[in-house]
């Protein structure tokens, strides 16, 4: 609560006219479908016994800018509590933004009411993490998948049932299962039902919030492939939220890395995964476990401690409490999200002292965790 955080619009601060990522590195180079700028969501924290007073805020999303082109998939990664789901729920307008602006297909939808949103409701859909909780156990698959059509009073030619059967077929379920209940399906199949429901209204944008993380490894691939087919064949744009870096890389043309309510780095796939500049992106990639027993030549970075609380985030750069490159400036000046020297257009980084654009092993590992460092140092001294 120490300072008023203001947003850095990329167009104001970028030294070169970087514009937005979408135009630079969009998959099909399509036109901008969704544009988010300065987006904020604060959840008030109330205290006091008798009279509830607002004693502070959870700054879940605190000034986020990105855009998604038609037909493109933007991946969003970051650790628990960094604001990914909140961002997704703001975009689908399940939540009311505290500040900033959301533009969908040229229309400002930031503060539209339910009723005003109706015309575009069908175009933005959401797929949730938990295939168990997100389906009503008392409804048949048929009524679950046709519900969006009913709510929006849409009558496809040939009738709703025919459309539902088509949708079940598209997601790889047996159309004969129209009258079955969710509990008769496995986790992967239930997630397919969720996908079918999301597709019912021919959406242009799907926000998928951890769509596979509740599924077994062997089942995850089925759903990822299905979503990928949907994205490519139906030309649907995605905001694909997940904490699994490899799945996000597999699915998304561009990736945004979030930390404590902010995007710290955004860019095309190759820039983020092969030429990252933000120290946190380096740390995140280095920590991702790869199923390869050989030393794969990646750098080893071990941070200390956990992510700080979004209630009282560190001043200046929010990563500075865990950053090995932090200097005085990092505590006082918030780094803007800009295209720094050496980055391609659309690759934006929020860091005063960025890292080299490589992820190969360094001469010395970076081990900030005191316990790890102590043991490893001792082991080195007594060979």
């Amino acid at each position: 609560m120490s300072e008023q955080v203001t947003l850095d619009q990329p167009e104001d601060t970028a030294p070169e006219p970087a514009k937005d990522g979408a135009s630079g590195a969009g998959a099909g180079g399509g036109e901008t479908l969704l544009e988010v700028s300065g987006l904020q969501k604060y959840f008030p924290i109330h205290g006091g016994f008798i009279v509830k007073r607002r004693v502070g805020d959870v700054r879940a999303v605190d000034g986020v800018d990105f855009s998604i082109a038609a037909g493109e998939s933007l991946g969003m990664v970051g650790e628990s509590g960094c604001g990914k789901s909140t961002t997704g729920r703001l975009v689908t307008r399940l939540l009311e933004p505290t500040g900033g602006k959301i533009t969908y297909a040229g229309q400002d939808i930031t503060h539209r009411s339910r009723k005003e949103l109706a015309p575009i409701r069908s175009e933005i859909q959401m797929i949730f993490q938990d295939p168990y909780a997100s389906l009503n156990p008392r409804q048949t698959v048929g009524s679950i998948v046709s519900a969006p059509m009913e709510i929006n009073d849409i009558n496809p030619s040939g009738g709703r049932e025919k459309r539902v059967r088509e949708l079940l077929e598209i997601v790889g379920l047996n159309p004969e299962h129209y009258n079955r209940f969710p509990h008769e399906f496995s986790g992967g199949q239930r997630q397919r039902i969720g996908v079918a429901r999301a597709l019912a209204l021919d959406p242009k944008l799907i926000v998928a919030d951890e769509p596979v993380s509740a599924l077994d490894v062997s089942i995850q691939a089925q759903v990822v492939n299905l979503l990928q087919r949907v994205q490519k064949e139906l030309g649907i744009a995605f905001l694909f939220i997940a904490h699994d870096l490899a799945i996000v890389r597999h699915f998304s043309q561009r990736i945004a890395v979030m930390y404590l309510g902010k995007i710290v780095e955004i860019g095309d796939r190759a820039s983020i995964y092969e030429r990252p500049r933000h120290p946190y992106t380096h740390a995140l990639l280095s920590a991702a476990p790869e199923a390869d027993p050989d030393d794969d030549g990646r750098e080893r970075i071990r941070l200390a401690g956990d992510v700080p609380s979004p209630i009282n985030p560190p001043s200046g750069c929010r990563f500075r409490t865990r950053c090995w490159k932090a200097q005085d400036k990092c505590a006082t000046e918030e780094p803007p999200l800009v295209q720094i020297g050496g980055n391609v257009a659309g690759h934006l980084t929020a860091c005063h002292f960025p890292e080299e654009p490589t992820i190969t092993a360094r001469k010395e590992d970076i081990v900030l965790d005191p316990a790890l460092a102590a043991i490893e140092e001792a082991a080195e001294e007594t060979p």
């Binding site: 650790e79 628990s80 496995s186 986790g187 992967g188 199949q189 077994d216 490894v217 062997s218 089942i219 995850q220 691939a221 089925q222 990822v224 492939n225 990928q228 904490h243 870096l245 490899a246 799945i247 890389r249 597999h250 796939r269 995964y273 740390a283 995140l284 990639l285 280095s286 920590a287 991702a288 476990p289 790869e290 199923a291 390869d292 027993p293 794969d296 080893r300 071990r302 941070l303 200390a304 401690g305 956990d306 992510v307 090995w324 010395e364 590992d365 970076i366 081990v367 900030l368 965790d369 005191p370 316990a371 790890l372 460092a373 043991i375 490893e376 140092e377 082991a379 080195e380 060979p383």
Partner: protein
């Protein structure tokens, strides 16, 4: 800030007898719907100072196996058969009292969910000190000092003051560290870690897995690490057992399993996960179908309803005859060694790059 590179682990002398041997383990639960064959003839060995990774999908019997080793199943509805020998001592027939003595001292566990594993009513320090007093007869003062030492060791800042905190005052990563401190307080010979980092963020997971590995090098503890994440296995395990429907379907070193796997289920697992270095244009190769029921497990090879290669085996052997897992390196599958090699090289390996 400290920067350093890691020394190579020194090779340990081979022991003639395994520190832990599990032979033909069966664990069955009597339930309203029938008998659940959660573990169905499982065998593996583990040596001191080594880490055995157990992978397999949800419900394959990983946790049940390890609760059996720890003697934590409810005898009323659980039937356990087979042999579990820990350092020469048979555990399947051991009394509740014997097992209780072994738990905490000789073997200890780290659970996935630190909130349920730690009591909310006692300080973290007291919960770490408790087994030290109980098993080693230490005084209150000694045990408290030991708790502080252990907290420092696992990287809790200001252990002298944090020792008096309650679990809810710790973050998720700190609670997981505290659980590791609790597990290691009596210098156990065997630590069983059941999905110890699944609930944590990746940067914290990396810190904690490395910590567990480093502490193991210091103390020579044997570790069983249960996970569904092949990446975690690659970073921590020496040997690996792949489980499917209550059975071990493949066994080998971590290199064997990740570089030259033999069992179609292991191929499926490896083909299902995207890699950071793989081409993004190749779709993933999922395993078709869904996990089996343990009430009514498939006949013959439990993987046969989902297996793409059952047709390569003559007749209907896959559906009728249970394949045996040989001792040591090997897989429980009717395909001939030549078929396994050829299919892997021609059809599986190209997808893994």
């Amino acid at each position: 800030m400290t920067t350093l590179t890691k020394p190579e682990a020194e090779p340990r002398p081979q022991e003639s007898e395994h520190f832990l041997s599990v032979r033909d383990l069966y664990v069955q639960f009597a339930t309203e719907d029938g008998t659940v064959k959660a573990v169905d003839g499982l065998s593996f060995d583990l040596d001191r100072g080594k880490t055995l990774g157990i992978v397999g999908e949800s419900g394959s019997g990983k946790s049940v196996t390890n609760l059996a080793i720890l003697g934590l199943h409810n005898p009323r509805n659980t039937t356990i058969a087979g042999e579990i020998v820990l350092d020469g001592q048979e555990l399947t027939g051991a009394s509740t009292k014997t097992l209780e003595k072994l738990r905490g001292k000789k073997m200890a566990m780290v659970f996935q969910d630190s909130l349920t594993a730690l009591s909310p009513y006692y300080t973290v320090g007291r919960q770490i000190a408790e087994p030290y007093m109980k098993h080693l007869g230490a005084s209150k003062k000694e045990a408290r000092d030991r708790a502080i030492e252990m907290l420092g060791k696992v990287g809790i800042p200001q252990p002298q003051t944090r020792v008096d905190d309650y679990p809810h005052q710790f973050s998720g990563g700190m609670r997981q560290r505290a659980m590791i401190a609790m597990a290691l307080v009596c210098n156990p010979d065997l630590v069983i870690a059941d999905e110890p980092t699944t609930a944590l963020d990746v940067t914290v997971q990396a810190q904690i897995l490395d910590l567990l590995k480093d502490l193991q090098q210091e103390t020579g503890t044997a570790i069983i690490l249960i996970t569904h994440d092949l990446g975690v296995i690659a970073n921590t395990a020496d040997d690996v057992v792949v489980m499917y429907a209550g059975r071990a379907v493949e066994r080998g070193t971590v290199r064997d399993i990740l570089k030259t796997p033999e069992h179609p289920y292991a191929w499926g697992l490896l083909g299902s996960i995207p890699r950071l270095s793989a081409s993004v244009d190749v779709p993933l190769a999922p395993i078709p179908g869904s996990p089996p029921s343990l009430l009514n497990p498939p006949s013959g090879c439990p993987f046969h309803p989902r297996c793409t290669f059952a047709g390569e085996v003559g007749g209907d052997r896959c559906a009728t005859e249970r394949p045996v897992l040989p001792e040591g390196r090997g897989s429980a599958c009717h395909l001939t060694p030549e078929q396994k090699r050829d299919i892997f090289i021609q059809q599986v390996q190209p997808r893994l790059r």
